[in-house]
Amino acid sequence: MLARYVLRRLVGMVIVVFLVLTIAFVIVRLAPGDPAALMLGPEATAADAAALRARLGLDRPIPIQYLTFIGNALTGDLGTSIFFNQPVTRVLADRAEPTVFLALFSLLFALLIATPIGIYAAYRRGSFLDQSAISIAMLAASVPSFWTGLMVQRYLATELGWFPASGYGGPDADFLERMAHLMLPSLVLGVVNSALILRFTRASMLDVLGEDYVRTARSKGMGELRVVLRHALKNAAIPIITVVGLTFALLVSGAVVTERVFNIPGMGNLVVNAVLRRDYPVIQGTLIVVATLYVVINLVIDLLYLVVDKRVKY
């Protein structure tokens, strides 16, 4: 049964990715603006731009461009970046490291902040800590990440010098130094994204803590810590896993603003630049990768349900 379920989901995934592919192709071409004119700069003549468009294959009929694009995408070739003159897959792969680690660290920070507070807030429902945790979470979620980013950059990096202000370390940075450059942006994203996880954890725990079996566990004389962490948390885990998974996907695709503020050469920065440069293949490629990531993560989440909750059957 499970195999059939996974197969069905995989077919669904292919359809979703195909749709995204098509929509991505259409949308980038609906936007006005000409990559050739942008590349050549303000002094270029219309004839120059036309010549470059021909060289880039942008003068061919849109349906032909589309078919070529789909055909190539099927073989794993997402085209060549107009701006970088490199395969899109290569361009994306170069940006994967900062983006993936930024997402991982951010998620880790978010979890470290959100789960203990969420659990405790539910456990001491209505207490001062509960109330203030919710208010702070709302505040953190409401403040735009660029503002938080600017503030921590100014005070923790520039003024106090605890962190590098921006960038990814440069030519001689080893892995550790590159990761060090991700700490401050991860902190910002962790704080911003912790709010949702916190609220879900709290809500889910509240539901579970009122259940009969929790009362039973307590009446058996089990320790509070064991009741909360072993019995309650495990049963409250499904909504939490869902929101954590989606947050991760969001972080990989949506760290645009933070990457820009901290000048992290990741996918968020790439896609913004690609839009400004009208680098069609890169925009399409990023959308496809992000869409694929979303559906894969969704599948992984659903499969994880099986692990945490034996009652779930597919």
Binding site: A165, G170, A173, N273
Partner: protein, 505 residues
């Protein structure tokens, strides 16, 4: 947790390392405004391309700090004969490319030919070039059909540059980025850095350094250019001591940089000029009276103030060149900054203006474009214009302005270029299509004339035509802000700052 502690430790270590320059290997980190479109300056007119590539790719001539033309790869200024039709250029000997080969006239001839085929500015003169040839291994001869005075400026300019490459790398796209410059390209990681290193085989000129001319001393071992698209991030990086130099800082960051103990502001007086490009090919402004109404109505000082916010960052000046430039002229300036709605209304009446909206195409990529348009809109409406603002992103503007049916005015800006003929706005062939027989005759005389005093006189006449006929509208002069590390010496303020004479104390 331990990985965080280690990473935090590494972060602390990294920041202290950045603060104290290593003794053995000096390096500069320069924050530029974005990833250059190309590392071939022949193919781009972007300033950021010029800033970076001038360190590894050179031209026959260059400019000194007073914008006089000086030899770089050429031995001296050319012998001009045949009434300005023949340029005989003697090359320096012993110049080595970064690939180890020696520069000779064949490299130069092929590079210049490529320039006339591929570079925007080169193509502009191509039709006037009879031949480019090499009489011997160290001489190049350019023959023109008609005398064309701006030629040397074009050969000296780092923007759409007549760059000299070894024959072996030439092609529609360069096979490798190889030049003769004081620094050579080591590594380019797109959107992260461009790493250049001192070229040991560099043969510097012996004259004292002056602007881009004279000796290029290669004082630091390594120069890194780091694209930082966000202006605020450039400011923070500079103030925190991460960058030694940062281009394109926002005016409002001036005091923050000035108060910093690590950095200081570099104010570039009269960096550039915002321009309202006028559509002479189609639409409302093909009518001279409506153009005159537009110019009469515009409150230039208010527009500049709204755009730049601080008197230190602009001046309301209608002349095409600021005080102190050889091209400065006062001709026609009574037409500038009239701010006279009544007079504008008279012109509109004379034109039987029917209320067709004036379409202003602008973008917020450069916020000052948009702000000055907003102020102008109010003034124009007071004079009786109907105004339609079309605010798009820069890419869209770049495309739409090529279609004369879509706009009456589009807003852009330009730095002050060393030679007026480097902008095509005056020419009837530009996308503005400003054609006027008498003006065109002045323009032709100006580009053909080789005597500098006569050229200046002719440029004055051209400026008068510009303001009387409203060819395009120059709004004023604006300054630019860059910043540098305290103790950094040897970088002259320029729209295209160069770092071969830079040193850090």
């Amino acid at each position: 947790m331990s990985i965080f502690k280690r990473a935090l430790g590494a972060a602390l270590l990294a920041s202290t390392m950045l603060a104290a320059p290593a003794l053995a290997d000096t390096k500069l980190e320069v924050a530029i405004i974005g990833e250059p479109q190309s590392l071939d300056p022949m193919l781009s007119t972007q300033d950021v391309v010029s800033i970076v590539t001038q360190h590894f790719i050179e031209t026959l001539y260059t400019f000194d700090s007073k914008w006089n033309i000086q030899p770089l790869l050429a031995e001296a200024l050319p012998e001009i004969a045949d009434g300005g039709r023949t340029y005989r250029i003697k090359l320096r000997s012993g110049i080595t490319f970064h690939d180890g080969s020696t520069m000779d006239s064949a490299d130069v001839v092929d590079s210049l030919k490529r320039w006339t085929e591929l570079a925007t500015r080169g193509k502009g003169v191509a039709a006037n070039i009879e031949s480019i040839s090499a009489p011997d291994a160290s001489t190049v001869e350019i023959k023109l059909k008609e005398p064309y005075a701006p030629l040397l400026s074009l050969l000296a300019f780092s923007n759409s540059a007549a760059a000299i490459y070894p024959q072996e790398v030439l092609g529609e796209e360069l096979k490798a980025i190889v030049g003769t410059g004081p620094y050579k390209l080591v590594e380019h990681v797109a959107d992260q850095y461009i790493l250049t290193r001192k070229f040991d085989g560099y043969l510097s000129r012996s004259e004292p350094s002056d602007g881009n001319a004279g000796a290029r001393q290669q004082l630091v071992d390594e120069i890194r250019f780091v694209p930082v698209p966000d202006a605020n991030t450039r400011v923070e990086g500079l103030v925190s001591g991460q960058f030694d130099y940062a281009d394109g800082l926002p005016a409002e960051s001036y005091s923050r940089v000035a108060e910093s103990d690590k950095a200081e502001p570099v104010l570039l007086k009269d960096f550039g000029w915002p321009v309202w490009a006028v559509n002479h090919k189609a639409g409302l402004l093909t009518d001279r009276n409506i153009r005159k109404a537009l110019l009469a109505a515009l409150p230039m000082d208010d527009m500049m103030f709204a755009a730049f916010g601080d008197d230190n960052f602009f001046s309301a000046d209608g002349a095409m060149y600021p005080e102190g430039w050889p091209w400065r002229s006062e001709e026609g300036l009574d037409q500038y900054n009239q701010n006279d709605p009544a007079k504008a209304a008279e012109y509109l009446k004379a034109a039987n203006y029917d209320g067709t909206p004036l379409r202003i195409l602008t973008s917020r990529q450069y916020e000052f474009h948009f702000k000055m348009a907003e102020v102008a809109k109010v003034a124009l409406e007071a004079a009786g214009f109907k105004v339609e603002m079309n605010v798009v992103d820069w890419a869209t503007l770049g495309q739409q302005r090529n279609d004369p049916a879509l706009w009456d005015v589009y807003i852009t800006h330009s730095p002050f270029l060393p030679e007026p003929a480097l902008t095509d706005l005056y020419a009837p062939t530009s996308r503005l299509g400003w054609a006027e027989a008498e003006k065109d005759a002045v323009l032709t005389a100006f580009t053909a004339e080789t005597d500098q005093a006569k050229r200046q006189e002719l440029f004055g006449q051209l400026q008068k035509w510009l303001l009387d006929d409203v060819g395009f509208i120059k709004i004023g002069n604006f300054n630019a802000l860059q910043g540098q590390r305290k103790g950094l010496a040897g970088v002259e303020p320029s729209p295209w700052p160069a770092f071969w004479n830079a040193s850090v104390k």
